[in-house]
Structure formats: C-alpha cells, structure tokens
C-alpha cells in the first residue's frame, strides 16, 4: 500500500515535471512565434507611429499584457509616442497615463526598471475612469537614430500570476527588432528626403540647363552666320559635320545628311591647287584661327570666312566653325579700292589741272593785261589799237569759255544740272550748228574743211523730247573739238535712224584721231591727250567729261570710235519715239 502510494506520488511528480517542461517548451515556441510575427509584419510598415502601434498591440495580445506603451522622455518630461490598452475599445486609447518624477529619475539612471504598481502605486497612474487595476510594471529604455531617450512600458493587471517572467530576453529581442526597424524607417525617411532634395536640385538644374540650352539653341539657330561642329580624328582629318544651324542650309543649301560624313575640304573651290589645299588643311588643324576660302555649295561658289576653334566633346575631337559669306564684303572692298584709286587719280588730275589752268588762264590774262596796258599808255598807232583790242577781245572770249567750262563741270560734279525736256527738232538744230561751224571755220581760216550734215528723217518726224540747251552744248563742244583737231578733210554732224526707239547722233571728223589706249581717258576730267601734234590745241580738258556727263543725264551714252590719222567719230543715242513727234 505504502509502495503504491510512493509510486503514485512519484508518478504525480513526474507528471508535474513533464507539465512544467511542456509549459516551458510552449513558452519558447510562443516567444519564437511572437518574434517571428512581429518581424514578418513589419515589412510593409513605413512609418514609426504605425510600427509602434502594431508592435505594442502584438505584445499586448500575445503576451497578455493589458497596457503597452512607448514614451520619449527627458529628466523632467515625457511624451507618449504610442500605446495599446486592451481595456479600451477605441484606438488611439483614450487613457491618459501619468508618469511620476520618481519614475523619470529611475529611467534616467537605469536602462531597465521593474516594479509592482500595487506596492508603488504612484509611479504610473491611470485615468480614474479606467477599470484597469495595474500590477507588475516593466520599463525598458532604448535609443534610436531619431530618439535619444525612449522607453517601452508594459503594465500587467493585478492578477497574482502575471505574465512577466524573470527571463526578459524576448522583450529585449522585440525591442531590438523594433529599434532596428525604426532606424531603418528613419534612414529611409532621411534617404527619401535627400532623394527628394536631390530630385528637386536635379530638376532645378535641368530646368536651368534647359533654359540655357534653349537660349543657346536660339542663338545657334538665329545666327546669320553658319555654325558647324565638325568631328575630326586624331590626325586632324575631318570626319564629318555633326551639328549645324539653320543658317548653314540657307547659306549653302546643304543639310545635315549631306555633311554628315563629308570632309570640309572636299568642298574647296576647284581653282585651288593641291598645295593651297594642303595649307588650308594644315591651318584648320590648329587650335583656333581664321580661314578665308571659296567653297562649292548648292547655291554656287561662295567665299567664306571661317573662324574655328578646337574643342573636346564627349571625348571626341571637334572643331567649332563659324562661317560667314564674305562675297558682299569682298565686293565692297573691291569698290573701296577702286574708289581709292580713283581718288588718287583724281587728285593727280586735279594737280595737273591746276598746273594746266594756271597756264591756260594766265596766258589769255597776260595777253589781256599786257595789251590793255599798251592801250592805256595811249602811245599806239590807230591800227595797233584795233589789233590790241581784237587780241584782248579774243583772249577774253577764250577765258570766258574756259570759265564757262569750269562752271559747267562744277555744276555737274555738284549734281546741280537739271534736264528740262522740250520738243527739239533735230534737223533744225543740226542745220543751225552747221551754219555756226562754217562761220567758226571761216574765222579760223579753215574754210577749206568741208562741213557735212546727215538728217535722214523728214522735218516733221525729226523731233525728240529732250533738253535742247544741253544737246546744243554737247554738239558745240564736240564740234569745237573736231575743228580744233582737224586740219583738212571734213567734219560731219547728224544722226542715224534705224527704226528703233532712239536716234544715234554723231560728230565725225577726218582729224588727227585718238590712239586706242587714250580713247577711254578722254572722257575723264582734266584729261588732255598731249603730244607734239596737239600741244597747241589748248583747252581745259573738261569738254568731253562735260559732254559725257550731259549725255548720260539725257539718257544716252557718249561713245568714241577713232584711229590715229584717220579721224574720230563721237556718237550717242538718245530716246526717240516716232509717235511723240507732234
């Protein structure tokens, strides 16, 4: 009997042991499950508030701890970050929990604090409306990146056997998991913030860059000069044009496809020698410089001034080239050079003219003064007086002509000559001129020279609309020249009509003629062709220049055909309209 009792007692003991073992194993499994559950459920949480609420709820439910909370604290104050109270219906819990200064002091000095609130009721007090009766309390402080002083507070209810075991490892583990995750969340937040700032900066920079690019793109495209970006290889050989602006197309007619893989120098004008081409290529291989050359384009051959500079872009050697069409500039330069030459020439002619004039004016003036003086002395014979007066008169006339010519030419130069159109019967005019010519020839004892006229139109049709005075002046001048340089033969004046819209007037003589090389010069100002035969002819050198200018103003052009010893023909065409005659 006693033996049986002993066996029963042992068996009971054994059962108890096994139960305890079983319970301990269950505890371990539960804790593992809790930790696992907490760990797993964190994956989608990105906010520390939600993280804390979730973990506090899990601890409360699975460890059967009615009040679980997380506070941030200092030496004198505290702030609830999250709490879970299983004894209230709603979240966030309405319960307000007060932490005493005494507890704060404890928390500031030790990382773990455990007490029973039944014995120390003042440490943590709950809202009086709560039906909760606090029992055991556990506080574990922690630190994260974002929080220097944090504490988890767990309060069990007042039941005699609370769930808080001596082994607090699971709590540490959970808190470590939470703080790790919390740190990760803060890091992610910081990262996101940084990322946001970075994105903002990138966006700002991108916008600035875009604006800048847009600005330069506009400049690039709006530029009237052609801008190219040529790629070159290490040896300086041009591989092709990689970028160009709109002006390129306008200036050359080429587009990007045409120039993509083209060597710039293959477009050089055909007139350049291989040697010259080499020089250009060598110049182009320099760091920067200016080239001027003519290039073949779709539009034709154009002279370009090429400013270039070598740059490195995307690890490639590039040459930025700005080309300007200099054809206008070149033409302008040519004009300037011509104008300059003309000015120099003109200056020379003016000096020659002045020298000539001083002679031409002085000679008649000397005669006038000298013979006037003789007359004044009143010692001359009556026959002499007449001779002297005649000489004075002729010299005065000569001087007057000279001055008239100078005045005329001055007017022409100053563009003060106006053309007054009127109906001119050219047959009558030529008749008058021929009569005058006969008279002059007679005076000059050149009556042996024949005076011819040619007027093919009948009088009623021989009418043009032009300036009569100027036409007469031109003819008179040409006739005077003819008389001056003709010693024998004939002088013919007249016009030709070839059923066109003009009449061709001419003055022809059988005089000494003008050498071919001098034929252009005679129309220039202050020019007199002088040689042994003409040295005595006198004159201002302005006559033909005046004629040429006047004819131009009358819408014609004065031309000359002549050969030495065979005479000269001066001719010009003036507009004629047969239906206008009346």
């Amino acid at each position: 009997m006693a033996a049986d009792k002993e066996i029963l007692r042992r068996l009971e003991l054994r059962i108890k042991e096994l139960e305890e073992e079983n319970n301990s194993l269950s505890d371990q499994v539960e804790e593992m499950l809790l930790i696992n559950l907490i760990n797993e459920s964190f994956d989608e949480i990105t906010d520390e508030g939600r993280l804390l609420t979730a973990v506090l709820e899990k601890i409360s439910v699975l460890k059967d701890i009615p009040y679980c909370a997380c506070f941030e604290f200092s030496e004198t104050s505290y702030n609830c970050l999250a709490q879970y109270c299983s004894f209230y219906t709603n979240e966030p819990c309405l319960s307000t929990v007060s932490i005493s200064g005494e507890l704060l002091k404890e928390l500031n000095t030790q990382s773990i604090f455990r007490t029973n609130l039944i014995q120390n009721p003042g440490l943590v007090t709950f809202d009086s409306k709560s039906a909760f009766h606090p029992g055991e309390m556990l506080a574990i402080t922690f630190q994260t990146r974002a929080l220097n002083h944090g504490v988890f507070i767990f309060v069990c209810d007042g039941k005699p056997s609370g769930p808080l075991k001596n082994d607090l490892l699971p709590f540490y583990q959970i808190i470590r998991i939470v703080t790790d995750k919390w740190d990760r969340i803060s890091l992610m937040k910081e990262l996101r913030q940084l990322n946001k700032e970075l994105e903002k900066r990138v966006e700002e920079r991108t916008n600035l860059f875009k604006q800048s690019e847009e600005k330069y793109r506009q400049l690039f495209d709006m530029a009237t000069d052609a801008i190219f970006l040529w790629e070159i290889d290490n040896k300086g050989k041009v591989l092709g044009c990689k970028e160009m602006n709109d002006a390129v197309l306008k200036m050359t007619g080429y587009n990007k496809d045409d120039l993509q893989s083209l060597n710039l120098f293959s477009l050089l004008a055909d007139t350049y020698t291989p040697k010259e081409r080499k020089v250009f290529e060598k110049d182009f291989a320099r760091q920067s410089g200016i080239l001027e050359a003519s290039f073949n384009t779709r539009i034709g051959l154009i002279p370009l001034e090429l400013h270039f500079r070598r740059i490195k872009l995307d690890n490639k050697q590039m040459v930025l080239a700005i080309a300007r069409d200099v054809s206008e500039r070149q033409a302008y330069e040519k004009q300037i050079i011509e104008a300059k030459n003309k000015a120099v020439e003109s200056e020379k002619l003016k000096s020659a003219f002045l020298a000539n004039m001083s002679h031409e004016i002085r000679t008649p003036m000397n005669a006038i003064i000298g013979f006037s003086e003789l007359l004044y002395q009143d010692e001359s014979m009556p026959g002499e007086v007449k001779l002297y007066a005649d000489i004075i008169f002729k010299n005065s006339l000569h001087l007057l002509n000279l001055i008239n010519d100078i005045v005329d030419y001055s007017k022409i130069e100053a563009e003060q000559v106006t053309i007054c159109n009127e109906a001119i019967n050219v047959n009558e005019l030529i008749s008058e001129l021929s009569i005058n010519m006969i008279s002059i020839l007679h005076q000059l004892s050149k009556s042996h020279i024949d005076v011819l006229t040619h007027t093919p139109l009948i009088d009623s049709e021989a009418v043009i609309i032009n300036d009569k005075t100027r036409l007469r002046q031109v003819f008179t001048n040409l006739i005077n020249n003819a008389i001056k340089f003709t010693q024998q033969g004939f002088i013919e004046i007249g016009y030709q009509y070839n059923n066109q819209d003009y009449l061709e007037f001419y003055v022809r003589d059988s005089g000494i003629g003008i050498a071919t090389e001098n034929q252009k010069k005679v129309f220039e100002r202050f020019v007199q062709v002088r040689d042994a035969k003409t040295s005595s002819a006198g004159g201002t050198g302005l006559g033909l220049a005046i004629c040429s200018n006047l004819v131009e103003r009358m819408n014609g052009q004065l031309c000359l055909e002549s050969s030495i010893g065979e005479g000269s023909t001066f001719w010009f065409k003036l507009p004629y309209n047969k239906t206008n005659e009346s």
């Binding site: 797993e40 699975l62 299983s86 209230y88 709603n90 769930p163």
Partner: protein, 274 residues
C-alpha cells in the same frame, strides 16, 4: 454576401446590433459562432428564404455590430441581447438555429427564454464543458491562443479557416476576405479577443439539467470532419435530450454552412416541417 437591402440595425443595451431580415414564413433566428458573423449563413439563405423569415444577426463585437468591449460578450449576455432583439422586433415565437458558440447561445435562450422558442437546432455546437475554453483566461489555452494569433496574422487565420472546412479548396480569397473583414481594424481585433476571453463554459454547465428537459423539438447537426469541436458533444446532447434528432454530415467540417449548405437547409426544413 447577404443583400444590403435586408440589412437593419437596432440599439440594444446602448450598442448597435446589426441584423438581416430575409424571406417570409415562420421566423428562424440564425446565430453564428466565433470567428464568423452573419456572412456564414450566406450559402444557406437561398434554400430557406422562400419558406421562412430569416433573422440573421451579427452578435455584438462581430461583423458590423458595435465593437465596444465595455459590455460582457458572455453567452448568457448574448442570449439576453437576442431575446431583447426579438422583443423589439415583436417576434413572439422563433425557431432557434445556432452554430458553434451560437449553438451555446441558442441553448441558453431555449432555457432562459423558453417562451420564444419553437424549436432548437444546433450545428457543430459547443455544450457542457467539452470545449476548449476554461474559466481562467489563460493564454496557454490552445484555442484562445490560436484565436489571438489569428487576430494578428492573416496567415494564422487562414490556417484556422482552412482546417475548419471539409472542402478546403473552397477557401477562395473572397471567402477569406469575409472572415478577415472585422480583423482589419484595431477595434475589430480587440472586440474579437474580448469575445474569446468572455467565453466561459460555466454558462453552459449551469443549464445542463434544463437542456435535458427541454420540451421543444431539438435537432443536432454534426459535421463529421469538424476538427475543432469534439464528436462527443453532439453524441452526449443527443443521448441526453429525449426525442432529439442527430444528423451527421460526413462531408462537413466545422464551417459546415460553406461545405454543405443544401444538406443543412434540408435537415432544418424537414425538422421544422414535421
């Protein structure tokens, strides 16, 4: 899901109670158990709504009813609340149909509010102290422990539901969403745990004698493959209650309304019609 147009709510004991009123005929009060709410009857409704007026409740703390935990979720109090509901709806007599702890509630109603009960049908019900809850709320209790885990983890909950079904492939995401719906809020989870903590088999032990002397017809339906509640509950009830019927469904799990809705409906209909 039950049709929203049939959804009503009423304030009982200062808390909102949601119920559905569907069909015409003699009234049937359908009471769900733990981890479920009114939706658990959705597949049964089409077989009964043409012959009966179905009153389907969300017990306090469950489904869409109030989640306050300042009210006792004991079987006794639920029975009292339901009796108040029937009174408020002016329903004098009703056939009681309860599943799981709902079966326990209906047992209490049949005893404590006998005047309203026309008949009692319990399906995979709790009874006596043959169910795994103990008066001391110890977290070590396996079922409470499991329920606590389930309230926090969809995977754990899915595991519970799956084990409760005979046709496990029928656990679609849609069905799981119905189960999980109250767990989505903290208040829902708290109410659920409060519900679990309030379970106390003393409530049923107290009425053991009265149950055995019930004067109304009693039908006991048992899903043979219910892994959560013992076969002995159904058998002992059947033996103890004179004239009671026991129907065992070979292809029924704990959530037998999802497994064999037509069979259950037929059994109920046949039972009531006699």
């Amino acid at each position: 899901m039950l049709n929203k147009k049939n959804r009503h709510s009423i304030i009982i004991q200062n808390h909102e109670l949601v119920y559905y009123r569907i069909g015409n005929g003699e009234p049937l009060l359908l009471v769900h158990g733990i981890t479920t709410y009114s939706f658990i009857w959705q597949r049964v409704v089409p077989f009964l709504e043409n012959r009966y007026e179905l009153i389907i409740v969300d017990l306090l703390g469950c489904g869409d009813s109030a989640k306050s935990i300042d009210v006792a979720f004991s079987l006794k109090n639920h029975a009292k609340i339901l009796a108040e509901l029937l009174e408020a709806l002016h329903i004098n007599k009703v056939h009681l149909v309860g599943h799981d702890v709902g079966g326990g509630i209906c047992q209490i109603m049949a005893v404590s509010h006998a005047e309203v009960a026309l008949s009692l049908t319990v399906i995979n019900t709790v009874a006596y102290d043959f169910w795994p809850v103990q008066p001391i709320i110890s977290m070590r209790t396996p079922i409470i422990r499991q329920l606590a885990m389930a309230s926090l983890d969809l995977g754990a909950f899915r595991f519970i539901v799956k084990r409760g079904l005979y046709y496990r492939e029928r656990l679609t995401n849609e069905l799981m969403n119905y189960f999980w719906y109250p767990m989505k809020t903290s208040a829902g989870r708290k109410a659920f745990l409060h519900f679990a903590h309030c379970l106390d088999n003393r409530d049923l032990i107290e009425i053991v004698d009265d149950i055995e002397h019930l004067q109304i017809p009693v039908l006991i339906i048992r899903g043979d493959k219910d892994v959560y509640l013992s076969k002995q509950i159904a058998e002992k009830l059947h033996q103890s209650i004179k004239g009671s019927q026991l129907k065992v469904v070979a292809t029924g799990g704990h959530f037998i309304q999802e497994d064999e809705p037509a069979v259950i409906a037929r059994y109920i209909d046949e039972f009531i019609s006699v």
